[in-house]
Symmetry: C2
Subunit: 197 residues, 2 copies
């Protein structure tokens, strides 16, 4: 009855194969290009087989993101281990986080729902808000006579904080409370304004 073991091992293996196939497709074609039939093709089965290992497509994405978080955690850990002072540790950790987002971009996109869309392409309407903000930033900084690159950078700093905060609130919905939002908004915006003046 040792064949039971072999069968269980085989099952575990095809389960892994499905995940690996899925991830390789995601890496090649982006997570929008992932389909059950493509996975099936890659593991040399037909699509319905996958449903004996995962209840649906979302479950595969879910497990994939789980693996993503584990990998991220590992890299954070090893970044932390390189330093003793917590101030240095956290800087290294956020840098590792940053690296993770760009070496495993597709993974990061599935994990945090970042999607590239039409807006960035040629949509000229997107320039209006940008121009409005940079005009005011230039006004604030007029004493130090900054170049356009500096203003652009300050705009991106603002945008990062706000957009990031909005993203958390949209993705995590209920989790984040009003008070924290207000605090961060006031702190961050106020802080950046001060650093500009």
């Amino acid at each position: 009855m040792a064949s039971k073991d072999r069968i269980l091992r085989q099952k575990e293996e095809t389960r892994n194969n499905i995940l690996e196939a899925a991830y390789s497709i995601v890496k090649e074609e982006g997570w929008q290009g992932l389909s059950m039939r493509k996975i099936a093709d890659k593991i040399e089965y037909t699509a319905p087989i996958i449903y004996e290992y995962f209840s649906n497509k979302e479950a595969i994405l879910n497990e994939l993101t789980g693996k993503g978080f584990i990998k991220l955690a590992k890299e954070l850990q090893s970044a932390k281990a390189k330093f003793d002072k917590p101030e240095d540790q956290i800087e290294a950790m956020w840098m590792a986080y940053w690296d993770f987002a760009f070496t495993d971009t597709e993974m990061y996109q599935v994990m945090f729902g970042v999607q590239m869309n039409c807006c960035s392409q040629q949509c000229s309407a997107a320039e209006a808000p940008y121009n409005l903000f940079t005009a005011v930033i230039a006004e604030i900084m007029k004493n130090s006579n900054p170049g356009p690159e500096v203003i652009k950078q300050k705009y991106f700093t603002f945008f990062s904080v706000i957009h990031g905060l909005i993203a958390i609130n949209i993705i995590n919905k209920s989790e984040v409370m009003e008070t924290i939002n207000n605090q961060i908004l006031k702190d961050a915006i106020g802080g950046i304004i001060k650093s500009i003046q």
Copy 2:
């Protein structure tokens, strides 16, 4: 030959109807629930008709985001008009930006590609990175003896900046340069660390 005018006006009207129908579906079911046939149903036509007004689905989303940016710009403008000092103006503008993101959430999602995904649900693996960061933050702040809420808030502040910056880089790809990234990373992370100590 005034009928030419009427026909042109009618064409313009159904074009608008398509956009309005599309947006109402997006508001009701999220932008993933948008389909050509649903739009067709709503304007009481069949799907192929839409292709006489828009070359494809993406073009509709594109025009919709265009309108979104115009609306956003308007609200930024009126927020700016309420104040005289540029410091007050930019704060009001970012607050207006924030409001826009949550009154027109679906629109904001299409405009900036924020998507809610599996990760936020029950995925317990997502907690590992969170715990790693908050542990170090607590270590840095141990002298001021902060409560868990404060630590959570500081974590979100960090995360906002980094995630926002990553999102810009993924969405806008080429636009943003290395130097700006490094500058913002160093400025923002360093700044927040100092504010924590």
